[in-house]
Symmetry: C2
C-alpha cells in the first residue's frame, strides 16, 4: 500500500463534516482503500467479481464431513445456474460470480462462466500423506495469480474470494494451526454442521497430520502438506490482487487460511485485503488475528461460497464514498468542535 | 408480526441449498422480515427512506457537548445539500433522505426535503426540570406516527431512522437509564467525543435528573421528563411503521432510546424493528439488550444521522433475497447432509 495516499486520506478524513473518528472502522477502511489504489480519494469500486475456487479433498475419506463429496460438483452447477446463496447476494450488489475449478473430483461442463484450472480430481488424503505435491501447490498458486491478472484485465476493480469444497474446513484448520502455532482443537470447528463424534475425528486428523509432518518455515511445503487446491488458488489470488493494486475482500476460514499462505510468502500482500466477515469457525478468528484484519461483518455465517465477502462489499464501497463525496467543514460552513471555524 | 408467515419462512429456509443455520443472523432476519410483511417470501425492499429527526436540547446549557448548538441547524443544511455522511451512504444504497424538524433552535428554510413538525426551539433543560411538557411529548409521538404513515403512503417500504441534535446523547442516556434501571454511569458515553471532565458532567446531569424526577411506569411522562423532541418523533415512527407492517431499521443510541419508549407503549412494535448497528455509546448496548435486538453492523460508529441504519439496509435486503431467490435442494438436485435426497 501507498503511504502517501494513506497520509492524504488521513488529512482528508479530518476535514469531513463529522466528529473525528465518528465513522469508526469505516474510516480505517477508507484509508486502506486509498493505500491499495495509491490515490486519494479512492476510485469507486464498480466492477466487483466473486471468484469461487472449487476443489475436492482426499481427507473426505476420513469421515470429516456428513456431506457426500459429490455435493461439491452439484454446488458448482448451482453456482453456474445462479441459485446458490452467493449468487443471490452477488446479484443484490451487482457482482459477477465466476467459478474456478481448481480440482473438483468430477468432469465439469466447459463454459465462459467457468475457469478450468483443474490440477487433479481432489487432493490426496492429508491424514495419510501430503495433500499435494510441491509442484501441484506451486501450480495452484500460479493459477490463482493468473486468475487475478485475468480478472483485473477484464476490468474488475475489486476481487471477492469464494470457495467450495466438501471437507475443506479440515485442511483450513490444519493450515491455520501450522501458520499460527495454535492447537488443533482451538482451530477446528464444526464446518457445515458436524456432530460431536465427527468433530473429534476432525481434530484428531488435524493433530495427527501436524505431528506426522512437522512443518518448517517453507510456506509452499506447508500448503502442499496440509492444504487444498482451492487454498493454493486463493493464496495466489491474494498475491495477484496485491500485485495489481486491487483490493481483495476475503470470505471466511478457507480464505483466511489461504491468506496466511500469502502472508508467509509476501507479508505486504495482506495490506491489500479486507476481512469480509468473521466466520463461526474458530480457526477463522485465529487466522484474522495473525493477519491483523478486523472483520467488517460478524453475523455467525458459516456457509462459505464467498457470502461473507459479498455482504462486506457495500461497507467497503461506503467507506470509499465518504472520502469522495462528503462535505468538509469549510465547504459546508459547519462549525467544528469547540466552536472553531 | 405474523406467526404464519414466520412459520412459512422457517420451512422455506430449511429447503434452501445450504446447511441449516449456515447463513446465521441472515436467516433470523429473513424470518423477521416475513413476519413484518405478513408474507413469505418477503417482498423486496426497493424504496428505502432515511427520516432524520432533528431537534435541539436545553441541556446543552450544562456544557455536555463541546459542539456549539448552532451545529444542529448547520448539519440540517448539510443534509439538505447532500454533503453529510448519511447522504453519501444513502446514495450508495439508493435511499432517500428526508429531514423532520422536530424542534431545531433556528428557523429552517421550508422545502419539500424538510417536514416541519417543529414543537419548540429546543427542549427545556432536563437538568433543571422536565425537558418537555406532557402535551409536547404527545405531540412529538403523534408527529412521528404521522410521518410514518406519510412515508408509507408515498411508497416507501422500509423506514430508516436518522437523528441530529447537538447534545442528544445526554437525554438518550437518561431515557435508557430510566427504562432499564441501569446506572447513569453505565449508559452515559462520550457522544461525539467529549473529554473526561465533560463526561463526568454528563453522568452527573443524568444521575441528578433521574433522582430529582423519579419515573414511574408512565412511558410518556418519562419521555417528557428526560427525552428530546426527536426521541418523541422517532418513537412515533416506530409505532407508525409497526402499524403499517413496514420494517424500521434503527440507527444508534438515540433511536435505541426512542425504541424503548415505543416498546413501553406497545411491546409488539419492537418486532417490526431491526437494529441497524451497535454504537460505541455504552447506553446503546444496554438498550439493545432490553429491546432484544441483535445489531447487524458493529463497526465502532458513533456519528448518528442514520449512518448505521443505512449500512445495515443491504444486509436486510440480502436476507430477504435469499428466501426469494435461492434454489432448493430439490430444484437444484443437490444431495442433502448425510446423503439424503
Amino acid at each position: 500500500p501507498d503511504p502517501a495516499a494513506i497520509s492524504d486520506a488521513r488529512l482528508r478524513q479530518a476535514q469531513l463534516t463529522k466528529p473525528p473518528g465518528a465513522l469508526g472502522v469505516l474510516e480505517d477502511a477508507s484509508l486502506a482503500l486509498c493505500g491499495i489504489q495509491g490515490t486519494c480519494p479512492p476510485r469507486p469500486l464498480v466492477r466487483p467479481v466473486v471468484a469461487v475456487f472449487a476443489g475436492d479433498h482426499g481427507v473426505h475419506a476420513q469421515g470429516v464431513s456428513p456431506w457426500p463429496q459429490e455435493v461439491t460438483a452439484a454446488m458448482v452447477a448451482n453456482f453456474r445456474a445462479g441459485g446458490a446463496a452467493v449468487n443471490v447476494l452477488a446479484r443484490q450488489v451487482g457482482a459477477d460470480v465466476l467459478v474456478v475449478d481448481m480440482g473438483v473430483a468430477a468432469d465439469l461442463d466447459p463454459g465462459t462462466d467457468l475457469l478450468d484450472r483443474k490440477i487433479g480430481r481432489g487432493t490426496a488424503d492429508l491424514a495419510t500423506g501430503p495433500a499435494m505435491t510441491r509442484a501441484e501447490a506451486e501450480r495452484g498458486l500460479a493459477a490463482g495469480i493468473e486468475v487475478a491478472h485475468l480478472l483485473v484485465d477484464r476490468g474488475h476493480d475489486v476481487l471477492l474470494t469464494g470457495d467450495m469444497g466438501i471437507g475443506n474446513t479440515t485442511p483450513s484448520a490444519a493450515l491455520v494451526a501450522a501458520f499460527t502455532g495454535a492447537d488443533a482443537a482451538a482451530v477446528t470447528g464444526r464446518g457445515t454442521g458436524v456432530d460431536d463424534a465427527t468433530h473429534e475425528r476432525k481434530v484428531d486428523v488435524v493433530r495427527r497430520a501436524l505431528r506426522a509432518r512437522p512443518v518448517g518455515d517453507d510456506p509452499v511445503e506447508t500448503l502442499a502438506s496440509l492444504g487444498g487446491f482451492e487454498h493454493a488458488g486463493l493464496a495466489g489470488l491474494v498475491l495477484g490482487g496485491a500485485a495489481r493494486g486491487v483490493p481483495v475482500i476475503l470470505d471466511g476460514v478457507i480464505a483466511g487460511a489461504a491468506a496466511l499462505v500469502a502472508q508467509a510468502l509476501a507479508p505486504d500482500a495482506v495490506g491489500y485485503c479486507f476481512a469480509g466477515h468473521r466466520s463461526v469457525e474458530p480457526g477463522h478468528t485465529v487466522a484474522l488475528e495473525r493477519l491483523g484484519l478486523r472483520p467488517l461483518v460478524d453475523l455467525d455465517l458459516r456457509l462459505g461460497e464467498g457470502t461473507g465477502a459479498v455482504l462486506a462489499l457495500p461497507i467497503v464501497q461506503a467507506a470509499g464514498a465518504t472520502l469522495r463525496e462528503m462535505a468538509t467543514f469549510d465547504s459546508a460552513g459547519v462549525a467544528r468542535k469547540d466552536g472553531r471555524r
